[in-house]
Amino acid sequence: MEILKIENLKKRFGGVKAVDGLSFSVREGEILGIIGPNGAGKSTLFNLLCGLMPLDAGRITFSGEDITSLSPHKRCHMGIGRTFQICQPFKELTVLDNVAIAAVFGNSKTVRPWVVKKYSEEILEKVGLSIKKDLYPAHLTTPDLKLLEIARALATSPKLLLLDEVMAGLLPGECDRILKLIRCINREGITVILVEHVMRVVRELCERVIVMNYGQKLCEGCYEDVAGDKRVIEAYLGREETGAQ
């Protein structure tokens, strides 16, 4: 069963073709990895998928419905959750309220008003941020901010979770913690699209990897196939591997 299907997606910024005729589908329950050099269009792809940017051409089908022109909050209600590469915590709100907002607005059908608190605390418990629930984002460390991004997305009960470089800038130990969390999220039945530069994580988590370059799909396959592909080595691994690890 495919949960997401995109066909011939295009988005340009002036002369830059950020996403250029991209097509692929995502199977329900899988963890799909998307890799590619900086500027390949991965974050732009996520922005198109969650509706933050209008697309120039193409079609997005989610759970069998055409969502191409749906607004972001409606896509959220349908079950698309995402994190931002550059964390965007709500700085005037506590960690707990940051999660509450996702529960109140993104998940009102299942989370009734009187259980918002319990629900939000459970989510924080799950990602391991419970003890920081009363802090403001300004007092969180980078790994905690990443966890908060994930917690908020989880609070909307997504069917499909888009993770944009959640491991960037983290130490190996911190990566492991998030790696376990992603695995656990996936076991609960949430489909994941993972954009990641840390190759070890991609290798361990993703059954299938898509390599993007200049907004296009360069190749697709399991990690070993992709990592051995000559074009990929040229476009990405050859230049980036030493830097990224």
Binding site: H73, F90, I101, F105, V116
Partner: protein
């Protein structure tokens, strides 16, 4: 715990004082009190829009729209006072939603300019339709409650009370979450399920309603107005300054800002015969410099989940 109690004592004292004020003072102070309360409504209404990150100059337009709609329905259609207020509010809701939709894609300075243009257009319309609006000569209505200031005071106090109730609701409900999220990152808010269009329109419309009520009250209270006064930018700017100096995104801030600034302005006006506006302006500048978060800016942020 101590602060908690003190806060309630202060609020209770303020409510009692506001209630007995017109009965223990003379006509001059009653008049001053009425204008202060009207500006408190305007400052609070300006803050409603600011909460959704909207810097608006449309308040001038809605003030004038309220004044003219209420006066004209009263005069030409023979509406009773309350119906003329209701007509003004209804028209304002329609216009605010329409303007809100048209300006949906604008933010920051562009939104400010668009709303400024809106107010200017209304001014021109009021000037160019002399058959309906009286043109530059303006309009006159019979004096409110036969000139009994105590009643006028009660009416504007009631309008302010309504604005305060709305404000506290916005501050203590899911609106608070939506607004503060939209101020920090509208994109992240919408991705987490916030219908940002709806909350933006709600904040703008509520804000317009209270500017309109202030305008409708104003024309009946002063019994006469002209387009250059009812659609004067001074009104919008004053509401903004009061809200900012009092403390944005709060209930006490704009109200306190209106009271303090109105008292300072009046004191300056009667004590300094020439150029009092210059001193008043300097005080505003000093206020912005030394109290960037306003008079109540230091208070703790409200938490949705305790």
């Amino acid at each position: 715990m101590k602060n908690f109690k003190l806060k309630y004592v202060i609020v209770a004292a303020a409510i009692i004082l506001a209630g007995i004020f017109p009965f223990i003072t003379g006509e001059y102070y009653r008049h001053l009190g009425i204008l202060t309360l009207m500006y408190a409504v305007l400052a609070l209404s300006w803050d409603f829009a600011a909460r959704a990150e909207l810097v608006s100059f449309a308040h001038t337009g809605f003030f004038g729209l309220g004044a003219y709609t209420s006066a004209l329905t009263f005069l030409k259609l023979g509406f009773p006072l309350y119906l003329s207020f209701a007509a003004a509010v209804l028209l304002t809701i329609v216009v605010a939603i329409a303007l809100g939709y048209l300006t949906l894609r604008l933010s920051g300075i562009y939104f400010a300019i668009a709303t400024l243009a809106f107010s200017e257009v209304l001014l021109v319309v009021a000037l160019q339709l002399p058959n309906v609006t009286g043109g530059a000569m303006g309009i006159s209505v019979p004096s409110l409650f036969g000139g009994m200031r105590v009643y006028s005071y009660c009416l504007i106090l009631g309008i302010l009370a309504l604005a305060v109730v709305v404000s506290i609701y916005l501050e203590r409900s899911h609106y608070h979450l939506a607004f503060s999220a939209m101020r920090t990152s509208p994109g992240a808010a919408s991705v987490l399920g916030v219908n940002t269009v709806r909350y933006r329109l709600a904040s703008f419309t509520l804000s317009a309603i209270f500017s309109c009520l202030a305008g409708a009250f104003y024309v009946h209270y002063t019994t006469t107005t002209i387009p250059y006064e009812a659609f004067s930018l001074t009104i919008g700017v004053a509401s903004m300054v009061m809200a900012v100096l009092g403390g944005l995104y709060s209930t006490a801030g704009p109200v306190l800002g209106a009271i303090v600034l109105k008292i300072i302005e009046e004191y300056m006006r009667v004590t300094i015969p020439y150029g009092y506006m210059i001193i008043y302006g300097l005080i505003l500048v000093a206020g912005i410099l030394f109290l960037p978060k306003g008079l109540v800016g230091v208070q703790k942020k409200w938490k949705f989940l305790k």
